[in-house]
């Protein structure tokens, strides 16, 4: 059990990084609280796996320190850090049975046989592997093998952190949500720090208490799922989180009022928008509704997603605005107006939320 | 970590010592060789090499060897390609056993089979031709080529084949224009092993030839017995036999370590 601190961390795979683009991981300061569930989320190539490998000790960062409970672990190997990791493709010891696989980390540490046996039983129970304990591990299906990987991480009761590197990649889609909720459940039960790397927003948001959203080697926003959803710090967050992503509409400020064309739009952060930069209004499809007055649009497409409908509209200047409508709502057939919920309508300047952080 | 570097280094030194001794001797005069042990040539001479390059009975030996080795390599790989494809893509009656039975051909003691081979190839009129040696050497090269190629082919998804058929490729059009370039590395490795085993084999090559297709190795053994103890000349000839192999391995060095572990045993 440990608190993990990343202190001024950075990594470049090339020896002499010059440009910011040379860094696979930009400067990063962060603290993983003990017992938390975290997700590192971002598109491929955003640096999330690099960060994961630095924390687990498979990679030594070119800059900065990694601290476990204040102790500098930057150059220590994974064994010394006492961590566990589940990889993208299941890693199992082919020649061993499921039981031997689960016992392996304990045997390597010289734990007495009776204790090993008890732990293995307990973990097998937790991961639904009890019935397969004496089968050869290589004969299991992908999700079974991934459960073994997970079990090997859980079997040591003193690990500081369990890391997951896109663990559901090879799992059949209809089994994904089962394993996903299993992971969440295990976190709740054993109360250990877990860090989960993924490109899938649903996996990240459902698993984690706090999500670190990354792009091009840098952290864009760190927050709870609710914060990321309701208050994206950057238009990228708005786009990446949520399906469909946030609508973005170029606007201008007329005093304290945001204007899209001739239409004034009430926004939550109007007062803090400073002059200059490219301004956009960000509004999630969930917070857009049809109205008698407001932004004039044409309805161009209605897609039924089963429990709701996605309506695509086009403004007079050719911008697309999507909104969600329930199955019971009436969708106007063509020309209509849209209203935005002012509490969730915000202005972004050069991509960043106006008035905060880098958008200040 | 130091031990990890030490082991390959010591091993390579061990491999190089006899080769160095051969090289050392090839630059010595016969007198110096028989005069006693010297660690490097005291009177450096290229005379042995000059002899080889100016005497057709010598240098034609190299040409002959290179010809039948090349023919063998082409035949072995060409024949092994479709067979390896069958093993990697289809299940058929006996597929599990055929490979082992192919491999058993390596077990036939060449020493005893030399005479039947001689009779067989004489009977079909191929005796003392390059083709005879090339064909005889397919016996032990084909199984190996099949094994290596199958490993590489299994790494190519079957969907690639299907995509090609869907695009309108016939089987052979797909095989030659798409599939073979895709497994080029595997073909390179298979050719290397075929070259190697054909180049170094002597017994069959010697049995199946007399004059026209006589391999360099046979020239050497005959020289050794007829012209007495010309060790320097033999050493020079030996050194020259290493050169073609060294070239070949240099070209495939990057493929050697890739992938061929994945195949069928």
């Amino acid at each position: 059990m440990a608190r993990i601190t990343l202190d001024n961390l950075g990594h470049a795979y090339m020896p002499n990084p010059v440009n910011p683009a040379d860094w696979a991981l930009q400067q990063l300061d962060f603290e993983f609280e003990d017992g938390g569930a975290y997700a590192l989320l971002g598109p491929s190539g955003c640096g999330k796996t690099t960060l994961l490998n630095i924390i687990s000790g498979l990679l030594v960062p070119s800059r900065g320190r990694v601290l476990f409970d204040g102790e500098d672990m930057t150059t220590r190997d994974p064994t010394a850090r006492n961590i566990a990791q589940v990889f993208q493709f299941p890693v199992i010891y082919d020649t061993m049975t499921v039981r031997q696989n689960l016992a392996f980390p304990l045997r390597n540490r010289g734990v007495p046989a009776a204790e090993i046996d008890a732990r293995v039983r307990e973990i097998a129970e937790m991961t639904d592997l009890t019935e397969m304990l004496d089968r050869r591990a290589s004969g299991l299906t992908a999700d079974g093998k991934q459960k073994i990987s997970l079990g090997r991480g859980l079997v040591r009761d003193d690990v500081n952190v369990i890391m997951f590197d896109e663990p559901l990649t090879v799992i059949d889609p209809h089994l994904k949500w089962q394993l996903r909720s299993k992971l969440k459940e295990l976190h709740r039960r054993i109360d250990r720090t877990m860090i989960y790397v993924t490109h899938d927003q649903i996996e990240a948001l459902t698993f984690a208490d706090r999500v670190v959203l990354m792009k091009d080697g840098g952290v864009v926003q760190i927050g709870t799922p609710v914060e990321l959803f309701e208050r994206p710090a950057h238009t990228f967050v708005g786009h990446f989180i949520g399906s469909p992503g946030m609508n973005l509409l170029p606007c201008i400020m007329a005093g304290d009022t945001a204007m899209i064309g001739d239409t004034p739009i009430a926004v939550a952060n109007a007062a803090s928008v400073k002059p200059g930069g490219a301004l956009e209004i960000g509004i999630r499809p969930e917070f857009v509704g049809f109205a008698d007055r407001g932004l004039p649009v044409q309805v161009t497409r209605v897609m039924n997603a089963g429990r709701y409908r996605i309506v695509e509209t086009v403004t007079q200047t050719g911008q697309t605005v999507k909104l969600l409508a329930s199955n019971e709502d009436e969708v106007p057939s063509e020309a209509t107006h849209l209203s935005f919920d002012p509490a969730f309508t915000r202005v972004y300047r050069d991509g960043w939320l106006a008035g905060e952080g880098r958008g200040a | 970590m130091r031990a990890r570097r030490l082991i390959p280094t010591v091993y390579i030194i061990f491999l190089m010592l006899p080769i160095y001794w051969l090289l050392n001797m090839s630059f010595k005069t016969t007198n110096e060789i028989l005069g006693g042990l010297t660690l490097w040539p005291q009177t450096f001479t290229l005379e042995n090499y000059v002899t080889i390059f100016s005497d057709p009975t010598w240098y034609m030996g190299y040409v002959n060897s290179l010809i039948y080795v090349s023919i063998n390599t082409v035949i072995s790989v060409a024949v092994a390609l479709p067979a390896a494809y069958a093993f990697s893509r289809y299940r058929f009656l006996g597929d599990k056993h055929v490979f082992f039975w192919l491999l058993t051909n390596r077990m036939a003691p060449a020493a005893v089979f030399a005479l039947p081979f001689f009779q067989l190839y004489s009977a079909v009129g191929l005796f003392d031709t390059h083709l005879a040696v090339a064909l005889a050497h397919t016996l032990f090269n084909i199984p190996l080529a099949v094994w290596i190629l199958e490993g590489f082919m299994s790494g190519v998804p079957k969907e690639l084949d299907e995509t090609a058929y869907i695009d309108g490729h016939s089987f052979w059009s797909f095989f030659i224009r798409i599939f073979m370039p895709t497994i080029a590395a595997g073909i390179g490795v298979a050719m290397f092993f075929c070259f190697m085993f054909s180049w170094v084999e002597l017994l069959l090559a010697k049995t199946l030839t007399s004059v026209e297709a006589k391999p360099i190795a046979a020239t050497m053994t005959r020289t050794a017995s007829t012209s007495g103890y010309e060790l320097g000349l033999l050493a020079a000839a030996g050194v020259l036999t290493i050169v073609p192999g060294a070239f070949v391995i240099y070209f495939v060095r990057n493929y050697i370590a890739k992938g061929f572990a994945l195949g069928r045993v």
């Binding site: 059949d172 889609p173 909720s181 039960r189 459902t206 799922p225 914060e227 039924n304 089963g306 | 869907i166």
Partner: protein, 361 residues
């Protein structure tokens, strides 16, 4: 130009992969094959393409029996889940490959490749090898090759499954547009009900080698023929529980009861299997006829805008899907509300007997 499967069946080594299947795909239609892994989607597509021969039955295209016609002569194209391109050819040559084999003249090939590259946003990458592209670009290349030759049947076997979440969303958005003005039969295999819904067109639900239902997508979704079709076409899986009907009333367990509505009141008394989609089970009462239920929470998953709560109801695994953030402790007892105005009732054989409100969405 319709594609017809006439009692087509496929067995391999005595194992049934596809049960006898009849299916008619109309010209210009977009058809989704929806089912879990190993439900027979890929086999069905291979039969349609001519890559596999059916064990029995016939395949007709355009009024002609093509069962024995080789794949090269069928004018079909296919995109796979893995990114399949010719590794030794440039992106340009990859896209041009089917046209070249059809002996179309060079200028025409160039025009069509350029046009397709533009449409697929591959123009800057035309000279590169597939291995130098990102996953999304590789799959675009494969799609460009499939679309460039104006095939009669375009088969897409989970083409988006290996892509990043956002890329998947993006391409999913583009796909219907790509097929909009083509007069080909598109067949799209997926495991995700959401994809089927967003594409519209027709959907065939597959289960263990059988097409359980085929028809316009909304029709299949709102009017499942049986329990299996309803379950295949529901994500997360549909909630099910045994209920009994007595008079005008349904009874679940010992204490949960509700009135039948106009569409279900005519059902005979007896026991049924109740089916309720997860989004009809909510934390706050919602819909036309909410019924309070109580269960033990297994786990709550919160996504920032929605809450998915897995709970135990009388020994059945149920899932509730609500908007907003609602957290629960594991094992806690919690109240939910199921809207029975969209409930389905199935008989013992699994056939749909009644659907409240006349439809189930």
């Amino acid at each position: 130009m319709a594609l017809e499967l006439k009692s087509v069946a496929k067995q391999v080594d005595g194992e049934v992969h596809i049960h006898p299947t009849d299916l008619t795909l109309a010209p210009g239609s977009f058809n989704v094959l929806l089912g879990t892994t190993l439900s027979g989607k890929t086999t069905l597509m291979q039969l349609m393409a001519g890559l596999e021969r059916p064990t029995s039955g016939q395949i007709w295209f355009n009024g002609r029996d093509v069962t024995g016609v080789s794949v090269q002569k069928r004018n079909v194209s296919m995109v796979y889940q893995q990114f399949i391109n010719y590794p030794n050819l440039s992106v340009y040559a990859n896209i041009a490959s089917p046209l070249k084999l059809a002996r179309i003249d060079k200028a025409e090939i160039d025009r069509r490749v350029q046009e397709m590259a533009e449409l697929m946003r591959l123009t800057p990458m035309l000279d590169r090898r597939p291995s130098e592209l990102s996953g999304g670009q590789q799959q675009r290349t494969a799609m460009a090759r499939a679309l460039v030759k104006d095939a009669d049947v375009v088969l897409l076997d989970e083409p988006l499954a290996n892509l990043d979440f956002k890329l998947r969303e993006e391409l999913r958005d583009e796909l219907p547009r790509l097929f909009a003005d083509r007069n080909c039969i598109a067949v799209y295999a997926t495991t995700e009900p959401m994809e089927a819904l967003l594409f519209g067109g027709n959907t065939a639900t597959l289960h263990e080698g059988r097409v359980t239902q085929f028809g316009p997508t909304m029709e299949s979704y709102q009017h499942p023929r049986d329990l299996i079709s309803a379950q295949v076409f529901s994500e997360p899986p549909m909630n099910a529980a045994k209920v009994t009907k007595q008079g005008g009333e349904f009874l679940l367990g010992s204490s949960i009861r509700w009135q039948a509505d106009a569409s279900t009141t005519g059902m005979a008394d007896g026991s049924y299997m109740l089916g309720v989609r997860p989004h009809r089970v909510t934390i706050r009462p919602d819909g036309a006829q909410p019924v309070a239920i109580r269960g033990h929470v297994r786990i709550a998953e919160l996504s920032g805008s929605e809450s998915t709560v897995h709970f135990d109801l009388n020994g059945n695994d149920w899932v509730s899907l609500s908007t907003g953030v609602h957290d629960f402790d594991i094992g806690a007892e919690a109240d939910f509300h199921m809207d029975v105005s969209r409930a389905m009732y199935f008989d013992d054989a699994g056939h749909l007997v009644g659907a409240a409100g006349g439809r189930a969405d």
